[in-house]
Amino acid sequence: MAQPKGLVDDYGILMQCQKILPSDRHRLKLLEALAELENNECHARREFPKTRLHKIVGIEEAVYRADIDKMSGWRLHLQYGAQDKRLYLKDVTAGKKHDDVVGTIKARRERYE
């Protein structure tokens, strides 16, 4: 079995998701999203059809956004660790706030390098 891609949750984002996601349907979507982010085949192919993982454009830092649920706009913010090649969960954003990247990053500035 292929080794899963490392996903680090230093800030208790998954615990936070468990608390704030509005329904079990969203929690199931989160599980699917995490499975995709950990899936080494997705990383090898560089295709993330569920989460649409993508870098935030126009900035030096390797900060990424990944959909939990495209329709409602719940998203994860992650940062890629170039040294250990692992993804670090940084935040979860609510549906209505998913376009406010700065608000999210600013509120958790100490988490981003």
Binding site: K55, V102, Y112
Partner: protein
Amino acid sequence: MPHTAEHSSPNGALSSRARSRGREADTPPFQVEETSSYKRDFERLGPGDRAQVRKRLNFLLPLFEGDRRAFFAHASRPVAPNLAGGLTSTLYILRATPRLRVLLAYDLDPLFETLTFTLLRVLSHDLLEKDFLKAAEAFHRTHGLDLKK
């Protein structure tokens, strides 16, 4: 493996290298994306200027991979856009011709191993700091980022 052939897009900039996703070299391949503003600015240029801009970009953009110091010797910005959240903007001005400047942003993506240049505008050489900041603000806002006042 050496770089393979370059292709020119209808608007004259490089489209992409036909190298497969950085497997054969230490540096990633690069892609060029043109915003509608850039396309509009480019279409307004005369044939001579278009050819010069195209030629200059074909020369300068590959420098980023091969000799970054040389690339930045041709790039400048009147002021670094001050992004909220302490993020670092990658917006720069390239000297395309003595009279024309190309506003661009680069994105080095370590996860997808890509390098993408986003061409934003073709502007006059006498653009002011406020013009640059206005363009920077518009660009970053489209990606959900704000400049600090």
